[in-house]
Amino acid sequence: MIGSPYTLGGNTTSAIMLKVMLALLPGIGAHAWLFGPGIWVSLLLCSFFAIGFEALLLMMRGLPMKPFLSDNSALLTAWLLALSLPTLAPWWLYAIGMLFAIVVAKQLYGGLGQNLFNPAMVGYAVLIISFPVYMTQWVAPLSLADHALTLADAFDVVFAGQGSISPDAYTSATVLDTWKTQTRLQTPVESILAQPVFASSGQAIVAAMYLLGGLFLLWSRLITWHIPLAFLAGVAVSAGLLHLLDPTQHASPLLHLFSGGVMLGAFFIATDPVTAASTPRGKLIYAGLAGILVAIIRAFGGYPDGVAFAVLLMNVCVPFIDSYTQPRVFGHKIKQGSDKP
């Protein structure tokens, strides 16, 4: 028996997911423009594996296919993981990533809405721990590559291994990688920044496009300002402090904001409602701490980027944060702390 309300307004889950994917398009377009068509291959592969694993698990769990496959959540996870991974990695790397994202992190926790950890970031973390070599072979910006790959080349590389084309011809270290290795070698900051990867600004443009998509999400009220702002502020403030303390070891906050996964993380990954804090104050705490963790991991950790680990670490704290940041209910007296357990 179902009672009132008898009219419904507002969004649907599948439309929300679709709009988020729409908001990713400027970033994807920029990536394809600046880094070559490889991104299409990884998006396609990840989507394929995501749908496949999702369908398989739905079947095993005895759930209906249509409503759950059409909620678009698996596709969104696939896109987010594809955009976090290096393009032109071997096909099985995407398969393993999606296996852990969809099967382990999502469906084994009970499916959509029940997962404690961000599925895409679980897939990413598993891959970077297990296959660090493949995870650092990033496609170079077209302007720097010796060999511009066509779409056919990209398929060839992904499925047939590196084959005729040497990876050195189309890969290069990322901005963060370069910074990390060079500062450890005590290279002066000026000469680091003079390296071609910094000059190309490919990554920064892609990041700016993600920012644009994120603003669209804000404008369409699919996300609130709390998480992106707190996340970016967390990164900028802590990176800024470190930069002030030691400019030779720690890059400027601007470089941090527009490199690696920070923009994608701030607007698309940390905002995943299932795994993020849900109260307004909770969102600020959750995303602020995640931003600080990103800067700390980048500065002192073993991996060049820290978005995935920061988000996953903060995912663990979400139930705790939420229960201590419950907003005041209408008609309740303002009181210190909370009586929530």
């Binding site: 959509l112 809405g113 299932v274 849900s278």
Partner: protein
């Protein structure tokens, strides 16, 4: 004299659908041949029928008297004869029957002599008693007996708010009432002011009703303020309206009177005017009928009118109607039986069709998107309450302030996964209420059992003492034995004989009433009886051994 308005958090903007029914004046219903008047038309104890089957009644005659404090009277909608007092279909989400007086109208519509009251000369307490007899209850939907709300008690009610917001989509009965009968309505408000002694009077009307606003402004004296409030559902909720107009939050678990504010629906003010100045009890109200019906609009409907007759009066349902909603689409309920009558609580009947009210999409998992929390006017976290209500973890649901939920439906309205959140909350609330009922019942049983145990022990002790005393007496009176034995024996003999005779009589009576067959019992029943006997024997021996 513009007033600073406050904006509550949340709320939604569903399609208003007001124009379907607000364009035509209030129409009168033709007199019917049969009315069904439920005794439970208000919050609290149902009225106690004071007529018998076969009685002739007149319009306005009391059918049921208020029973207890939170209760009010119920009156005959027309003249005729009482043909039944029995459970009938009622406008209730359960579709269960409820006690009602059924009247067969004689078509004359004769009324009792209505006695107008000179309320200005009347003491508020006497006025309240009169209002209780007149059957006044809040017509906004909660139907709380008005005489209680008009009693300021120890609180000083500095502000009286009249609720003409009518925020629910489709409903226009208050809109039409304010447009057409504003002067009478204002006189009702003056009676309220007399009873409560309030200094400030605010009449809140949503700004999607410009005609009603103008009519009320024209009718209201300068010391009543007609305020246009923004159209935002549920702006007409008592707590929300109070906050919008005054910035005061009604404390949780309390009433607005705790902060010196009383809220009445405009319809109640109008009925109060009729009850006091014309002496006519609450026997009719304005009801909107709208949706997929040929002639939507507002009717002045006698309480007790079967809803099916209201549909007929509005020209009947159009082909393709798929059901009826009592109340608005946000907080109303599906009508289970169209024989159910209009009560004091029924403000609207919406005829559904599959285009206006498509079936509910299936429920998908909650993704904690927080849309419900953003829409909640009570600043709750519906998705958390849903999580625990669904898991039947009612304690945790309650710790997320489940009982601050006003069931306005905003959360379910915006939910992208189409989760019927309010249904989960209603389910959890009624389970918790049930448990509380059980708990208080168990507590009472415990107390009574403990007292019985104590009483039995006391009696035993007293008996023993008496016996000891009696033994002493007999010892003392041993010299005269014949007297003692003669005093006791005949009495006991007589008692035994009486009991025996009664037993025989009863046995005979029972055989004639219900012949019973204890000889050829099926083995299952016999076994059950044996088991019960054995258990009781065991209990008895145990009781003895513990003593």
């Amino acid at each position: 004299m513009s007033r600073t308005l406050f904006t509550f958090n949340g709320g939604v903007h569903p399609d208003g659908h007001k124009t379907e029914s607000n364009g035509t004046p209030i129409r009168a219903m033709p007199l019917l041949s049969r009315y069904v008047v439920p005794m439970r038309q208000h919050i609290g104890a149902p009225a106690r029928p004071v007529v018998a089957v076969g009685d002739a009644v007149l319009r306005g005659q009391t059918l049921g008297a208020a029973e207890g404090y939170v209760s009010t009277a119920v009156h005959a909608p027309t003249s005729g004869r009482v043909i039944a007092i029995e459970p009938c279909a009622a406008p209730h989400p359960s579709g269960l029957f409820d006690l009602a007086v059924v009247i067969e109208a004689d078509g004359l519509d004769q009324s009792i002599a209505f006695e107008p009251l000179d309320w200005r000369a009347l003491d508020p307490s006497a006025l309240r008693n009169r209002i209780r007899e007149m059957g006044l209850a809040g017509l906004g939907g909660a139907v709380f007996p008005s005489y209680i709300k008009l009693n300021p008690g120890a609180q000083k009610i500095h502000t009286l708010i009249l609720n003409g917001a009518e925020c629910e989509p489709w409903i226009t009965c208050d809109d039409r009432l304010m447009r057409e009968r504003a002067p009478e309505l204002v006189r009702g408000i003056e009676i309220m002011r007399h009873a409560l002694g309030s200094a400030t009077i605010l009449i809140g009307i949503e700004d999607n009703k410009p005609e009603a606003l103008a009519a009320m402004r024209a009718a209201a004296p300068s010391d009543m303020e007609v305020v246009a409030i923004p159209t935002l559902y549920p702006g007409g909720g008592g707590k929300q309206l109070t906050y919008t107009l005054t910035g005061v939050e009604t404390p949780t678990g309390g009433r607005s009177t705790d902060v010196g504010i009383q809220v009445f629906n405009v319809g109640t003010a109008y009925s109060l005017y009729r009850a006091v100045e014309l002496g006519e009890p609450l026997i009719s109200r304005i009801v909107t009928i709208t949706g997929h019906v040929s002639n939507p609009g507002n009717f002045e409907v006698r309480v007790g009118t079967p809803l099916s007759d209201l549909v007929t009066a509005a020209g009947g349902m159009l082909p393709g109607a798929s059901g009826e909603i009592v109340g608005g689409p946000m907080m109303g309920f599906d009508l289970m039986d169209s024989a159910a009558p209009v009560t004091k609580a029924v403000n609207c009947l919406i005829i559904k069709n599959s285009k206006l009210f498509p079936g509910k999409p299936i429920e998908l998992p909650c993704i904690r998107c927080g849309a419900c929390a953003k829409a909640c006017p009570a600043d709750l976290q519906p998705f958390e309450m849903y999580w625990y209500s669904r898991a039947k973890n009612f304690g945790r649901a309650q710790s997320y302030n489940l009982f601050d939920c006003i069931e306005c439906g905003c959360c379910a309205y915006v939910c992208p996964s189409h989760i019927p959140l309010v249904d989960y909350f209603r389910f959890a609330k009624s389970e918790i209420w049930e448990r509380e009922r059980e708990k208080s019942g168990a507590d009472q049983a415990r107390i009574r059992h403990d007292f019985k145990t104590f009483r039995l022990e006391r009696e035993k002790r007293e008996k023993a003492e008496k016996f000891a005393k009696a033994a002493e007496k007999t010892k003392a009176a041993a010299s005269n034995p014949s007297e003692a034995s003669a005093a006791v024996d005949p009495d006991a003999e007589k008692k035994k004989a009486i009991l025996q005779a009664a037993l025989e009589r009863a046995q005979k009576a029972k055989e004639s009433v219900a012949p019973r067959n204890t000889e050829d019992l099926p083995p299952r029943v016999q076994r059950e009886i044996d088991e019960i006997e054995a258990r009781r024997a065991a209990v008895e021996t145990k009781t003895e051994s513990t003593e």
